[in-house]
């Protein structure tokens, strides 16, 4: 369950990065559709956070430690909203680049989460 979510969130984050990178390439700021995309990715990360905490509560242990696991879950959840707010403040192509960078960062976090859980 968690591994599938990690994969889905990572792929969605990369798609978001490519989409916003395309917007930046065309010299456009992030638009409503991009924010809907960010919301989808953020919801995935939130579901992952909830599922991760539920699995911890059931007594399952991440391979590399509970503290690191929870810290990465929280970081993954905060990543896209933070980039999204920065792109709201910067209504140029650079706002789009920032969200694209956020997507790449989230994808890296997902790879780390996969390792930490021990999948």
């Amino acid at each position: 369950m968690l591994d599938a979510l990690t994969l889905a969130t990572g792929v969605a984050a990369l798609l978001l990065a490519a989409w916003c990178g395309w917007a930046a390439y065309r010299d456009q700021p992030t638009k409503d559709w991009h924010f809907i995309g960010m919301a989808v990715v953020s919801v995935l990360a939130l579901v992952q956070l909830v599922v991760g905490v539920v699995q911890l509560a059931r007594g399952e242990k991440p391979e590399q430690g509970t503290t690191i696991f929870v810290a990465y879950l929280l970081g993954a959840f905060a990543c896209i909203p933070a980039a999204g707010f920065m792109s709201l403040a910067e209504r140029t192509r650079w706002g789009s680049v920032t969200v694209a960078a956020g997507g790449v960062v989230l994808a890296v976090l997902e790879v780390r989460l996969y390792d930490i859980w021990g999948g």
């Binding site: 792109s87 910067e90 650079w94 920032t98």
Partner: protein, 144 residues
């Protein structure tokens, strides 16, 4: 502060985080969270295993935090402070990166700056270079 300096500060306060600056602030913010939480956790739980590596990560986190704050604050004084810190950061990455390659035994565990920041997609070495470029460019714009 003289009145001239105050004028510069008020007219340029927000200039550092417009355009490419916003991307820099985002990446520096990510590095602050990464370096501070990582070193904080490691120092709290297993400091004795690699004191040098964990202390260096903590220093990196503090430097990143200061640069982020300077960029967000804006203004000429903050810009100069950020230039100094970015230069220090670049020197730090190069020295620690070389050090980890030449004498790996000094580092039982990795730091943020090990192998020139390879574990962080080389962002630690690319970031100060692009930040210095951006800060120099903003100075030219301010004067021109």
């Amino acid at each position: 502060m003289t009145s001239g300096e105050a004028e510069v500060a008020t007219t340029t306060r927000t200039r550092l985080i417009s355009g490419p600056g916003v991307l820099l602030v985002w990446l520096y913010g990510v590095m602050v969270v990464g370096a501070v939480s990582r070193s904080g956790y490691q120092i709290a739980t297993e400091f004795d295993r690699a004191p040098l590596a964990y202390s260096l990560s903590a220093v990196a986190g503090v430097v990143y935090g200061f640069i982020t704050y300077s960029l967000v604050r804006g203004g000429e004084t903050a810009r100069r402070a950020a230039v100094v810190c970015c230069a220090a950061e670049l020197v730090g990455v190069l020295v620690v990166g070389t050090w980890t390659l030449v004498e790996p035994s000094a580092f039982p565990d990795a730091t943020v700056w090990s192998d020139f920041g390879m574990g962080y997609l080389f962002i630690p070495v690319l970031l100060p270079v692009s930040a210095l470029y951006w800060l120099r460019k903003s100075r030219r714009e301010l004067r021109g």
